[in-house]
């Protein structure tokens, strides 16, 4: 059983993630957090095997979250998968997001699971 933290502020997306993982409950236990600041705290409280990360969020965006994770000595090694509507070019503008695993929305359940499988 792998623990996955999903950082996503869009309520509809949160619903969709829940449904997408509905059938994988024996494989993955997911926790969804809409506020990236809270999500960062959660990482300290619980060991996660993977973080799914949206980028454009308020008040803390995914870029800052990622930077915080990578700069934190305890959490820097947690695998992070960025899932955003931004394309590669849009991502490249964000300097702190280098060498990141990335999927562009929309993403199919198969795609997502395959990627998660390779990372977690």
């Amino acid at each position: 059983m792998k623990n996955i933290l999903i950082v996503e502020d869009n309520v509809e997306m949160q619903k969709l993630y829940k449904n997408m993982f509905k059938n994988k409950q024996d494989e993955y236990e997911i926790e969804i957090e809409g506020d990236a600041r809270k999500a960062f705290k959660r990482l300290a409280e619980k060991d996660f095997d993977l973080v799914l990360l949206d980028i454009i969020m308020e008040p803390m965006d995914g870029e800052s979250f990622f930077a915080c994770v990578r700069q934190d000595s305890k959490r820097k090694n947690i695998p992070v998968l960025v899932i955003s509507v931004l394309d590669q070019e849009g991502l490249d503008y964000m300097k702190k997001l280098t060498k990141v695993d990335f999927l562009q929305k929309p993403v199919t359940i198969e795609e997502l699971m395959k990627k998660i499988g390779s990372m977690a």
Partner: protein
């Protein structure tokens, strides 16, 4: 008036001329004059001589006063001119004065002439002086102007408070500032960074002394010479100082090392314990001599210099000196040559000298190290003479003498010498005895007892007397009395007498008194009889003869006897006699000196006895014989003298004699001198040859052995110098000289002298070293150096002189050659300057000179010269040191150019430029920087980069600057203007070498515009695409989930997905509507619309809000209030546009409001309608308020929508000449949008 006044009188009347002369003579002038009548005469007179004054008649038959004035040339001709006439009118006189005459005098008032003449002469003189002074002044002003700025020294004029009044270019350059900039600066502060003058400040001193003061100061790592020259005003008050600062570091260093070398050399030269003379090899003249020489030869200091070496030799020996000198010329050196010199008073002095040739400049000189060996020589000479005397004496003395050499370790002796007297006594020929053993020739010698004495004397060296005894062998017998000495050579001398006859005589006296006379005659003895009772001494013929009385018997009163023959010593003689009389001795015996009657003295040997006694046994008569032993005595004296001399010579010369007996396995004997040199106690055993060689340091041993072997083989005298270590461990340089002694064609002995030459060696080595050092300092100096003597002779040039300029010593034997070649046309003025150098007392800086090298290149050399004492001949020496500054000059030029280029570029650059040091201190900025930051140049000059660059912290900046010293780097920063606003910059910082300092040049560019564009680009893409793509992406993903749900038959999941899709499609549609509206409005922008159709706000607002009102209130608990004033209902805006406007505003209000109310209010305002849409939502922060009307601008990309709403509203309002304004009290305090629209 004693001086004769020379007057030229232009006058036709002789009488008038005489009148004039008389008038002047009356005034006390002594007059010499010439009268001329015509122009030709006058010109001739002017050419002939210089006149003190010209007096001219106004009217002449063939000439006029005015014409004469023209001929004289007016005032400018410098000869005073006075018009003298009986007829001259007022106007003519004025005309004359105007034309240049000094004065005019009417013949009727000639008594005024004297005064007029004096005044005219004075006037002319003053005028002449003024002209000269004026010209000089002009010249000096011009010279000042041209030289001031081209001077190589930093020069400034400071006032009494040391504030700079003027300064030259170099001065400004020294401090990296402009000339104008330095004016008013306090020079203490500028140079030393102190408010108070430093204690050595020459200005302080000059204020007191009121004359030029010079000080050499250490500034940082440089030496500068600072001059302060007071400038006086007409009241003789000091008004200011000319202050000159000159960098003398190079020369100072050079000078110091030269001084040391020269001082060392000089000191050695002056204090050497040996005499040193330096002679020019070519001219044979003495160039230098140290005080030792002067003392030795009794010359006054300096007086010996310039003499020829031969002048110092006694006439007899000039030839010898010349030979020695020739040898030096040929071989380059000469060693241990003995010559004699003569003191100034003519006394002869023996010297030994060592000479060596070396080069000084282009000439060869000989250095002679001279040792005074007079004492030694004199002793030697005396010895030689005494030797001759001794030989003569030895041969001819009446006493017998034999010289023995010890053999068998002193057990036996062989005859070396045997004199005539001895031959007679022993009835043997010298030739038969020499080389034979004494025991062989005189077999009875042992029994006789003499052998023992000989052995003892040989061993102890102490002389012994062997009293009379009878010798007997088969051949000969007789009474002998011996005195035995040991000579310094080790030989034993026995001087003896045959006393046989005396013995016989004694017997005869006893036996036959009458035969006495005869016997005495034979023995040669004189007889004396002292009649004690009578008080007279009687002498026989022989004794009288001895005492100088002639061949007759004498009877001398005892008083006179004492006075004539024993003056001062009679008591001694009497004492001797008394001892005998008192009965102590059997026989009276004495050897003493007796004065002869007419001067001179003899030594006598005398014996006697009491011949008659009185009744009480008191002595009455005392009789004796006397023998003349003068010759023997003198021989003895000569021997003693010889010994003393040898010792003395050895002492003086630190010399000793040695002998090595090859027949005895190299057994050696030494004189005292050697013991002393090798520090061995006299009398200790002398080591054999091999052992002795081991005393020398190992490197010399082989050489010494070879020399000795060669000596034995070739019999050529040997000589060597080597270092030995004495038993006490002292290292000494010694010189040994040896020769072979042959006998029968075989070398049997080596003998010679041994001398301690340590001091000489040491002095020579030290001298050589000092000389070398001095030469090296000059020759190998990196600076071109030329040493020259008064008169222009080039004494020495350094190698670098040749290396740089190409001239060798042969090329420039004199300064005339040098200036000719190097300066060409300018040589005369340069030579003039050089001539002045011989009087300088201190180092003088001569400035830069352009010189021509041998191969025609032009170089710039900076010269300075210093006095270097005098040549032995009194010519002063100057050392001129050059510094090739050609490269520096070129570099300076290039630097100036590049500086110029840099400055222009710097100022004109479109970017902001900052030149600053590594601490951030701003050194220079350009105009653009000032303009952009709003500071003045001066303000920025006092600031640090950190004050204006706020994008980086101080901690970040300084390491950054250190890193980029050699490679430029681009960084983004933020700069702060004077008014506190900031702007983004892109800074290109690079290391920059500026006047030897590592500086940084920051090229900054305001990138506000660029950043804005970039921002727009990035955010447009990010925000807009995000806004549009998100609903699509969510919808799509919802569909994937929906599919899953369908597959699994999960209705909830399907419904949820449907709702998501529906909602997102709605959002998407709104966004697309917004974009389309914006595009449409955008296309209409610029066209000013005045709508014919009016809209009713009330109706439209109501209709619109109806759609959302219910939903909003229900869902979010938001109340919608509409309050349209009746006189503010109609607006002249197309309803379509009002709809869009209101829609956007309400939509926004709804989007950002969670609870409370949204009010739509309209009111009339200044002929407009003011429409207000107010909410109680999250408000807008100040940061966003300014940009809220920008297209696509959103508070945050995560915010829903396109960010086009307000921009659309603005476009619409402006289209109708309306205005729009957004107000917010801040975050959480709601938002109010005010739109003013034209009234309908």
């Amino acid at each position: 008036m004693a001086k004769t006044l020379h007057i030229l009188i232009v006058e036709d009347s002789e009488d008038d001329a005489l009148l004039i002369v008389r008038a002047l003579e009356k005034d006390g002038y002594e007059i010499a004059f010439k009268r001329v009548e015509t122009e030709e005469e006058m010109r001739a007179a002017l050419d002939e001589k210089k006149w003190d004054i010209i007096l001219a008649d106004y009217k002449l038959p063939a000439f006029s006063g005015m014409e004469a004035l023209k001929v004289a040339g007016g005032r400018d001709k410098q000869t005073p001119f006075i018009l003298v006439s009986g007829t001259v009118g007022e106007s003519a006189a004025v005309e004359c004065i105007k034309a240049g005459a000094n004065n005019y005098i009417i013949k009727g008032s000639l008594m005024l002439l004297g005064l007029a003449v004096q005044r005219a002469i004075d006037e002319t003189k003053t005028r002449k002086e003024n002209i000269a002074r004026g010209k000089a002044l002009m010249d000096s002003v011009n010279a000042w102007d041209t030289t001031f700025n081209s001077m190589n020294d930093a020069v400034c004029l400071v006032d009494k408070n040391r504030a700079i009044k003027i300064c030259n270019y170099i001065m400004a350059q020294m401090f990296g500032r402009s000339q104008e900039d330095l004016i008013g600066e306090n020079c203490c502060n500028l140079i030393h960074g102190k408010a108070m003058p430093v204690k050595e400040c020459p200005v302080t001193r000059a204020l007191e002394t009121r004359k030029r003061e010079i000080e050499e100061l250490h500034l940082g790592d440089k030496w500068v010479s600072v001059t302060a020259d007071p400038v006086f005003d007409s009241n003789n008050e000091i008004t200011s100082f000319v202050h000159i600062v000159r960098d003398i570091t190079d020369s100072k260093t050079m000078e110091a090392s030269l001084k040391i070398s020269e001082m060392k050399y000089r000191r050695l030269f002056e204090t050497a314990r040996e005499s040193i003379i330096i002679i020019d090899l070519a001219t044979k003249k003495i160039l230098d001599a140290n005080p030792f020489v002067e003392k030795l030869l009794e010359y006054d200091p300096g007086k010996i210099i310039g003499k020829e070496i031969f002048e110092l030799s006694p006439i007899k020996e000039i030839f010898e000196t010349k030979i020695a000198f020739k040898e030096i010329q040929e071989k380059g050196f000469i060693q241990h040559r003995h010559i004699s010199l003569q003191t100034k008073r003519g006394e002869r002095i023996y010297v030994e000298f060592i000479g060596k040739v070396y080069k000084v400049g282009d000439r060869d000189v000989v250095q002679l190290n001279i040792r005074d060996i007079t004492a030694y020589k004199k002793a030697e000479e005396a010895l030689l003479q005494s030797e001759i005397r001794f030989k003569e004496l030895f041969e001819n003395m009446m006493n017998a003498a034999a010289v023995y050499g010890a053999v068998d370790d002193g057990q036996d002796f062989i005859f070396r010498e045997f004199n005539k007297a001895a031959e007679g006594i022993e009835k043997a020929k010298k030739g038969e005895l020499i080389g034979k053993r004494v025991t062989e020739c005189f077999p009875g010698v042992k029994e006789f007892g003499l052998l023992d004495v000989l052995q003892r004397v040989w061993k102890t060296g102490r002389p012994e007397k062997f009293p009379a005894k009878e010798y007997k062998d088969n051949r000969i017998s007789g009474w002998r009395e011996n005195k035995v000495y040991k000579m310094p050579s080790g030989e034993i001398v026995a001087i003896y007498e045959d006393l046989t006859e005396e013995k016989l005589t004694q017997n005869l006296i006893k036996e036959k008194g009458e035969k006495l006379e005869q016997a005495l005659d034979i023995s040669g003895a004189g007889i004396w009889e002292w009649d004690l009772a009578e008080g007279v001494v009687k002498t026989d013929n022989r004794f009288s003869r001895m005492l100088g009385y002639g061949n007759k018997k004498m009877k001398i009163n005892i008083g006179e006897w004492e006075k004539v023959h024993y003056p001062g010593v009679w008591d001694e003689r009497k004492k001797e006699a008394q001892e005998y009389i008192d009965g102590g001795k059997r026989l009276y015996e004495s050897e003493h000196e007796v004065k002869k009657k007419n001067g001179g003295s003899i030594w006598i040997y005398t014996r006697g006895k009491i011949s008659e006694r009185g009744a009480k046994d008191e002595p009455l008569k005392f009789v004796g014989i006397a023998l003349d032993v003068t010759k023997r005595k003198r021989a003895e004296g000569a021997l003693a003298e010889r010994q003393r001399l040898i010792d003395q010579v050895g002492e003086i010369a630190k010399i000793g004699g040695w002998e090595m007996d090859l027949e005895k396995g190299g057994k050696a004997t030494w004189t005292k001198g050697i013991y002393k040199i090798v520090e061995v106690n006299v009398g200790e055993p002398v080591p054999g040859a091999d052992e002795h060689v081991d005393w020398y340091l190992p490197e010399y041993r082989q050489m010494i052995k070879e020399k000795m072997q060669k000596l034995i083989k070739t019999r050529q005298p040997m000589q060597f110098e080597a270092m030995l270590k004495t038993k006490k461990g002292t290292l000494k340089w010694c010189q040994a000289i040896g020769e072979a002694v042959e006998r029968d064609g075989k070398v049997v002995k080596l003998r010679g002298t041994f001398q301690d030459i340590t001091e000489r060696k040491r002095a020579m080595d030290a001298l050589k070293e000092s000389e070398q050092r001095f030469k090296t300092a000059v020759l190998d100096s990196p600076h071109p150096i030329l040493i020259h003597a008064e008169g222009g002779e080039v004494i020495q040039i350094s190698r670098s002189w040749t290396d740089i300029a190409g001239y060798t010593e042969q090329d420039i034997p004199t300064l005339a050659d040098w200036t000719e070649k190097a300066y060409g046309k300018k040589k005369a003025s340069v030579m003039k300057d050089i001539k002045k150098l011989y009087t300088i007392k201190k180092r003088k800086y001569e400035g830069e000179h352009t010189i021509r090298t041998k191969d025609g290149r032009m170089l710039v050399w900076e010269f300075s010269s210093a006095p270097l004492g005098s040549m032995p001949d009194g010519r002063r020496l100057v050392i001129s040191i050059a510094n090739d500054v050609t490269k520096r000059k070129g570099t300076e030029e290039a630097l100036r150019e590049s500086e110029e280029r840099f400055r222009t570029t710097f100022e004109r650059a479109a970017d902001m430029l900052f030149l600053h040091d590594q601490k951030g201190n701003i050194i220079q900025v350009n105009n653009n920087a000032c303009k952009n930051l709003g500071y003045t140049r001066k303000e920025l000059g006092n600031m640090k980069v950190q004050d204006i660059e706020v994008g980086f912290s101080r901690k970040e900046l300084e390491p950054l600057w250190r890193r980029i010293i050699d490679k430029s780097q681009i960084a983004r920063g933020v700069m702060k203007r004077k008014d506190g606003t900031t702007f983004p910059v892109e800074v290109n910082v690079g290391g920059f070498d500026y006047r030897g300092k590592k500086l940084l040049l920051a090229v900054s560019r305001d990138i506000t515009e660029r950043e804005r564009l970039e921002y727009a680009k990035v955010h447009l893409m990010r925000d807009v695409t995000h806004g549009l793509k998100t609903p699509i992406a969510i919808s799509q993903m919802a569909l994937y989930v929906c599919n899953e749900g369908l597959k699994r038959g999960d209705v909830n999941e399907v419904n949820e997905a449907h709702a998501i899709v529906a909602n997102n499609l709605k959002l998407l549609r709104k966004d697309i509507d917004n974009i389309l509206t914006s595009t449409t409005v955008d296309m209409r922008k610029g066209e000013k619309v005045s709508s014919k159709k009016c809209s009713s706000l009330k109706g439209i607002a109501k209709n619109m809000t109806m759609d959302i009102k219910g939903a909003l209130e229900k869902k979010r608990n938001i109340e919608v209030k509409i309050k349209i004033a009746p006189d503010a209902n109609k607006v002249a805006v197309a309803p379509r546009d009002i709809k869009i406007l209101l829609n956007c505003l309400i939509d926004n209000a709804a989007k950002f409001t969670e609870k409370g109310a949204i009010s739509i209010i309209s009111r009339p305002k200044k002929g407009h309608v003011e429409l207000e849409v107010k909410d109680t939502g999250c408000g807008i922060s100040k940061k966003h308020l300014g940009r809220i009307f920008e297209k696509f601008y959103k508070r945050h990309p995560a915010v829903e929508g396109t960010g086009l709403g307000l921009s659309i509203c603005k476009d619409i309002a402006e289209m109708y000449n309306g205005e729009i304004e957004v107000k917010s009290e801040g975050v959480g305090k709601g938002t109010t949008v005010l739109v003013r629209l034209p009234k309908g």
